[in-house]
Assembly symmetry: C2
Homo-oligomer: 316 residues x 2
Amino acid sequence: MDAAPTFREVLEAAARIAPYVHRTPVVSSATLDRELGASVFFKCENLQKVGAFKARGATNAVMALGDEACARGVITHSSGNHGAALAFAAGQRGIRCTVVMQEGASPLKAAAIRGYGAEIVTCPVGGREQTTERLRAESGATLVHPFEHPHVIAGQGTAALELLEDVPDLDLVIAPIGGGGIMAGTCLSVAARRPEATLVGVEPLAADDAFRSLRDGIRYPGVPAPATRADGLLTGIGALPFAILQQHGVEVVCVGEPEMLEACRFHLLRMKLLVEPSSGVVLAALRTLGDRIRGRRVGAILTGGNTDLSWWSAAG
Amino acid sequence: MDAAPTFREVLEAAARIAPYVHRTPVVSSATLDRELGASVFFKCENLQKVGAFKARGATNAVMALGDEACARGVITHSSGNHGAALAFAAGQRGIRCTVVMQEGASPLKAAAIRGYGAEIVTCPVGGREQTTERLRAESGATLVHPFEHPHVIAGQGTAALELLEDVPDLDLVIAPIGGGGIMAGTCLSVAARRPEATLVGVEPLAADDAFRSLRDGIRYPGVPAPATRADGLLTGIGALPFAILQQHGVEVVCVGEPEMLEACRFHLLRMKLLVEPSSGVVLAALRTLGDRIRGRRVGAILTGGNTDLSWWSAAG
């Protein structure tokens, strides 16, 4: 396992990625604040480049590479937002990017990744890691893992850093947990800039491995093929993020599917923001927290907006 | 007809409304910029209070009232965004607000307006103005017209003022035209702060009265019951906005329904922003302008996001 990044590396990431990514807006909803009896500040990473916070970590990792490594390119096996983010970052630096996708993966996602200029290599189902490792060994490309990577985590931490610059006096900061990259980065920034704030992570009930892992102090594997529409939160928590979340005393809240989709519906119709189900978990969790956030100032990270709205009819 | 407001009144409006409304973000899309060969900066009034720029003008009008007028309240006959905006503004000042709605008007809209604390008076179809005038005479309430009102127009002008503060070097500024309030306010700010910029207004083809009026130099009445989903642009251009648009040499572009809905779809899926069809006309017009915006810097006002997504299936 790599060493955990420090807050200093988050600050370095912020300087490194600033020319390439958006400083996203922070928005609030008076209607929601009345409902919750709290002041909630949403950091809109759905408005980030490639539609997700993943642009931060991937850009930090790519821009930190030496020239020699650049000549050999980068590779990853995430077909989701991280794959698109790495393709975007590699395009900004003008280097090769390979994304390994399983047969049968979404053609829409493949088209988006190709649109950013990456090469897609298809592999049999279940063979992503093996194929990636073979290609990496052959080409000498640098593997940029979606979350087991200090530069990636430091980059994700810049979202909470900006949020705390805009709203310094937060009592609680909340973000989703999939592999754990955004939550781990959030820990680093909050611990440095607002150590008195409570750190809360959120998972779908159907993919609650981080909840159980932090409760028991043992990192459990991800739930196999979890039944959730939060397609960005399917993966189990990584070793490096787990260590960081454990060290920072992160509490995990689990939320149901209807609550998650109702949150997406609220963001869309009332706040005019498209968020993916993986981001809807945050508002669903705030509603669960009830009395615990009343009268408090809450920072919440809306992690992404990449969705085809297929959940819309289910959210009515 | 009232005298046209000056840019000084826009500056006064900006100071007056700042405590009550959002300074909305300005966003761009690299994908769109590549498509258009231009740099487009969208001012997100869909993220404004009550979900539309109308909060600006209504707040300016209400906050400018003397104490005596306040005691008698305000009244309007707009059941759309202006009705909600006036209700919101009156609520902020703690004064009475009456909104006259026709029988059969959307119960959803009525609920929203009531939610902001206004009283709704129902009248027979076609009797809005008469009922409003009767109630105004009885109560002494101040009529805050949605666009034939210098304070309202000055308030709407603060959106372009902020846009030009964020992006000073625009070559062209574009906004929709219904009654003409946002376009008139935009004229005042652009003429004062960036006089070399071209001013373009947009209408749906089905409601093209401003286009014909500016072409012929005669103010035509609005198209009766126009067949467009742009429900914020149904009304004919007002006398005061018409005079301002004429004076500032505004050019009008008309766009079709499919192009408008495709623009809404792009804003939603690619930019993660919900905009109402009345705002989709702006991007549709930019696509129509083609060569005329290539290589140029464009400011575009996304006027609102209040829609139930009933157009979604038609936009596929």
